[in-house]
């Protein structure tokens, strides 16, 4: 018999209750349990960063966390970054403007990682940004557009504050 648990978590501001098999990763639960397919499962061993989501505001690998471990916690996925009316976040806008994505596979992990990173490091150097995404693999862009986007957002945030 499969080992299952009843869990409850808030995802992108909305409360969800489900019965999950305990071996299910958080990433698989988000995709298959909640239909939030914006989170991409890549390597499934913590190397590629595509599955990164925020748990209680901190960026983590959703392939290296069990869904049952997120019981009672707050999860933000890429679907939760835009405004309710669909207006993209400043970082999402900047990705669009600077060609920070091509195929889009790494994008959810890049956006969630950088959202948490820029919140904690509002005035990063280019090197800081490169280190922040060193655990997120992109095979299309060569990273330049992604770095430009992050630095652009940081600059705008500085001006705004």
């Amino acid at each position: 018999m499969a080992d299952t648990r009843d869990i409850e978590m808030t995802v992108n501001g909305e409360s969800h209750a489900a019965n999950v098999e305990t071996r299910t990763s958080l990433g698989d639960f988000l995709r298959h349990g909640l239909g939030l397919t914006g989170t991409h499962m890549g390597c499934e061993h913590g190397v590629c960063g595509a599955c990164t989501v925020m748990v209680d505001g901190e960026a983590v690998r959703s392939c290296l966390m069990l869904a049952v471990q997120a019981n009672g916690h707050e999860v933000t996925t890429v679907e939760g970054l835009a405004e309710d009316d669909g207006t993209m976040s400043a970082l999402q806008e900047a990705f669009w403007k600077h060609h920070g994505l091509q195929c889009g596979f790494c994008t959810p992990g890049m956006l969630t990682s950088l959202t948490a990173f820029l919140r904690d490091n509002p005035d990063p150097s280019e090197r800081d940004v490169r280190e922040a995404i060193s655990g997120n693999i992109c095979r299309c862009t060569g990273y330049q557009g992604i770095v430009d986007a992050a630095l652009d957002v940081a600059k705008t945030m500085q001006k705004g504050s």
């Binding site: 990763s25 690998r61 049952v68």
Partner: protein, 288 residues
């Protein structure tokens, strides 16, 4: 891939976790999950039971105990990097943690998980060797303390019983006019270290009064360069002294693998020890 089925346990006390270990023969302890989860996903390990420590209160946190810093086993690597006590009394810890994985993995990864996983290339075991840290494990008969020197038994095998749980680490505070250096070489940042070197130096009236050097990644367990440490005491902290001490690192036992020969690791060790010592001498500031 996905983990094979297991039975999940999430105890809320250390006692409860120890009791579970006693009654479940093929159980794995889940701390931060940044090593165990990949191994479960790839089915390198297929345990009957997984005992998750994340809901246990009281085995995470950092406490300044004057002569030492007491660190709970479930303290996240992120929290070690953000903590004021660590920053002032053991700044080599956050310096080394910059080399551990990526910020997303450090958000989950714990000090206890790293010490029990005991990867030869891991930074935290290298630091605990440097400090002669003392580990506390809890078993069915109560707690016992283990000096780090006795912790690694063999490749990725710590000196802990199948029914015991690592609950905390005590890191002695050096004090005095002390500096620290941590350097590492890997092909890409965030990869496993090919070799890492850590050094602490205390200098009084222009002479080295105390020294510790630890090398990670070279052998199955961190290597303390005691011969060099002894040679450093009483010497002047200058480039010549450091070069001579680092030469001793060339004679260490070093592993060889498909990518890196033992001779290369020995050369790296000498270079990195010299750099770590120079770094330590450059930030003497009364804390380490």
């Amino acid at each position: 891939m996905k983990p094979a089925p297991f039975t999940y346990h999430d105890p809320t006390t250390a006692d409860e976790a120890v009791a579970l270990l006693a009654t479940h023969e093929d159980a794995k302890i889940l701390a931060g999950g940044q090593s165990l989860m990949p191994m479960l996903n790839m089915r390198f390990v297929v345990p009957d039971d997984v005992i998750d420590l994340n809901r246990i209160d009281g085995i995470a946190g950092i406490r300044d105990a004057g002569e030492s810093i007491e660190i709970g086993a479930m303290t996240r690597q992120r929290d070690l990097m953000r903590d004021d006590v660590i920053a002032t009394k053991a700044p080599i810890i956050p310096a080394a943690l910059h080399w551990v994985g990526h910020f997303q993995t450090r958000n989950r990864g714990t000090i206890g998980g790293s010490l029990c996983h005991l990867d030869p290339a891991a930074e935290l075991p290298c630091l605990m060797a440097l400090y002669d840290a003392e580990l506390t494990v809890q078993g069915p008969d109560g707690a016992r303390k283990i000096p780090f020197a006795e912790w690694p038994l063999a490749y990725m095998i710590p000196s802990i019983g199948p029914d015991e749980l690592l609950t905390g680490v005590s890191v002695p505070h050096w004090g005095g006019n002390t500096g620290h250096g941590f350097v590492e070489f890997s092909r890409r940042h965030g990869d496993f270290a090919i070799v890492a070197a850590a050094a602490l130096l205390t200098v009084d009236a222009g002479k080295i009064t105390r020294a510790a050097i630890s090398i990670g990644g070279a052998d199955v367990r961190p290597i303390r360069l005691t011969e060099a440490e002894t040679a450093l005491v009483g010497a002047t902290p200058d480039a010549g002294t450091f070069k001579a001490a680092a030469e001793i690192a060339r004679g260490i036992e070093a592993m060889s693998d498909a990518y890196v020969s033992s001779a290369y690791r020995q050369r790296l060790a000498a270079t990195l020890v010299e750099r770590a010592l120079a770094a330590a001498a450059s930030n003497l500031n009364g804390s380490a």
